[in-house]
Symmetry: C2
Subunit: 204 residues, 2 copies
């Protein structure tokens, strides 16, 4: 329920409209549920604005997150049929490196993740989408598979009006420094503490 | 990236399957963005399971949250056309009491909100939906328009397998006690701190 009132008005020479329309880097981090779901909820808003939405998942599993993927694929097809909303592309990056897959060495996985990031960097340079969701992208950064300074420079130099939302635990400090908006999802209470397991429709 | 491993296995006489499929009360609270977007992201997962989704918004404004509403209305129509996903109902409760509306006294607004809640209670008693999103529902609780003990009792006694997600700042302690899962969205960094105003596609 934000009121839309800035705490201070900066003396940056920008008009309110220019400031309002500044493209954002958003990070959802923390130990708790809600990082990815909030990113996809945000993407619903962008979809409704007619934005081109690009989703890039850096974790792959047979069943993981089929919910959001199916819904966004449906929204993409709805756009094609009715012209409502915007186009949606959904990519699983580095399909080879998920923990759920037995094949492939760690080096293969790291290379695949890096190739995935390079594709995103090309799209950012070309202004391909208006909103990018880089889901679980903090993990390949944390593991050193992708260089965080390269990511920060690419984000900083991206042209035009492109929003980027990055999710995952343990966001690197350099990424947090570079972000405009950072939310930490913190735990007050979780049913797994009481022995409950994850369930369909809630966890994926 | 939950691993689905419970920290302890409770001695409650339930099988893993029964425990897994227990219906949840989820609360998204805290000062930061992400409470509602994460609830709607969760609803995408439920939609994909074919669940009946009921959204009840307790804040109404001409432009507010049109993004999620348009997207879920599209998903509901997609379901009707293709039978993919589940049905969606979207209700604005107590349309009379929003701050954006000049007409009506506070008493009118409180009455409208209470009537909205009573309709939800009837649906819960009747097992109408599988997932309920009660968006911004903490505010009428906080303002004393709806009795939190009545809400907690209704949630506790709801029949069948109905999940309820409640969003908003300042969730009452009795609601947190009654919930299975509580996430607090906390601020690490927000562009409004630097004077930026809310923008289309991001804030609504």
């Amino acid at each position: 329920m934000p009121q839309g009132k800035p705490a201070v008005v900066p003396r940056d020479g920008l008009t309110t409209r220019q400031r309002r329309n500044r493209p954002l880097v958003v990070v959802h981090t923390g130990e708790m549920k809600g990082k990815s779901t909030a990113a996809f909820g945000l993407a619903l808003r962008g979809w409704n604005q007619g934005w081109s939405i690009g989703v890039f998942q850096f974790v792959k599993s047979a069943r993981w997150k089929v919910g959001e993927e199916a819904a966004f694929r449906a929204l993409g097809r709805w756009h094609e049929t009715t012209d409502e909303g915007g186009p949606v592309e959904w990519h699983k990056m580095g399909e080879g490196w998920s923990w759920s897959r037995k094949k492939g060495t760690e080096q293969d996985h790291a290379t695949a993740a890096l190739e995935g990031w390079r594709e995103i960097a090309r799209r950012l340079a070309g202004g391909r989408h208006t909103l990018y969701v880089l889901d679980e992208f903090t993990y390949p950064l944390k593991w050193g598979w992708i260089d965080v300074d390269e990511v920060v420079a690419t984000l900083r130099d991206r042209p035009g009006h492109q929003h980027v939302v990055i999710t995952g635990r343990d966001a690197p400090a350099a990424l947090i420094d570079a972000a405009d908006l950072v939310v930490e999802m913190t735990k007050v209470k979780h049913p797994m503490d009481g022995g409950q397991k994850g369930q369909r429709g809630i966890e994926w």
